[in-house]
Amino acid sequence: SQTIHQWPATLVQPVGSPLSLECTVEGTSNPNLYWYRQAAGRGLQLLFYSVGIGQISSEVPQNLSASRPQDRQFILSSKKLLLSDSGFYLCAWNPGRGGTEAFFGQGTRLTVV
């Protein structure tokens, strides 16, 4: 069966520090991968998605970036965090090839102080 791992679960970082959130998927190959951000009690804002290694689409201009160094690994990064980067970050995957259902990691609560 497929599983998705996202870490860390919580993170407190000072303004101006770098960020690296990692997400890996097991039990499938060539998944579509997504990074979303969620404000408290609200919907999901799509940040990045990837349909293959090295293929990243950015949805919202910001100081975040994403990379997909391996087929089942998706990384969200920042060189210098802003206070406004605080939020709940979710990684998700779906099978692609017509499969639309998304399966989510447990999320990372990022607080920038």
Partner: protein, 108 residues
């Protein structure tokens, strides 16, 4: 502009009441999905509706896809405190996009 509009944004009801949550768009979707999310966790898929006019039931939850495939509804019968959470609709437009969610609070 939100491609998927959910209403209401917040709903607080007593245990045993019925409720309906709506997900509307001006665009046609090949399918729509409903997710439920609890605080501090990722959303979990409840159902996918694919055919216009389709109705799917999941215990006390009934999901309907509009005939024109531009809207969907989620109806909960006899709500229970365990139904409390954030309900999200989503649909594929190249990538998967989400509505802004409906927060449901069911009081015992």
């Amino acid at each position: 502009t939100q491609l998927l509009e959910q209403s209401p944004q917040f709903l607080s009801i007593q245990e045993g009441e019925n409720l309906t949550v709506y997900c509307n768009s001006s665009s046609v979707f090949s399918s729509l999905q409903w997710y439920r999310q609890e605080p501090g966790e990722g959303p979990v898929l409840l159902v996918t509706v694919v055919t216009g006019g389709e109705v799917k039931k999941l215990k006390r939850l009934t999901f309907q896809f509009g005939d024109a495939r531009k809207d969907s509804s989620l109806h909960i019968t006899a709500a229970q405190p365990g139904d409390t959470g954030l309900y999200l609709c989503a649909g594929p437009k190249g990538k998967l996009i989400f509505g802004q969610g409906t927060t449901l609070q069911v009081k015992p």
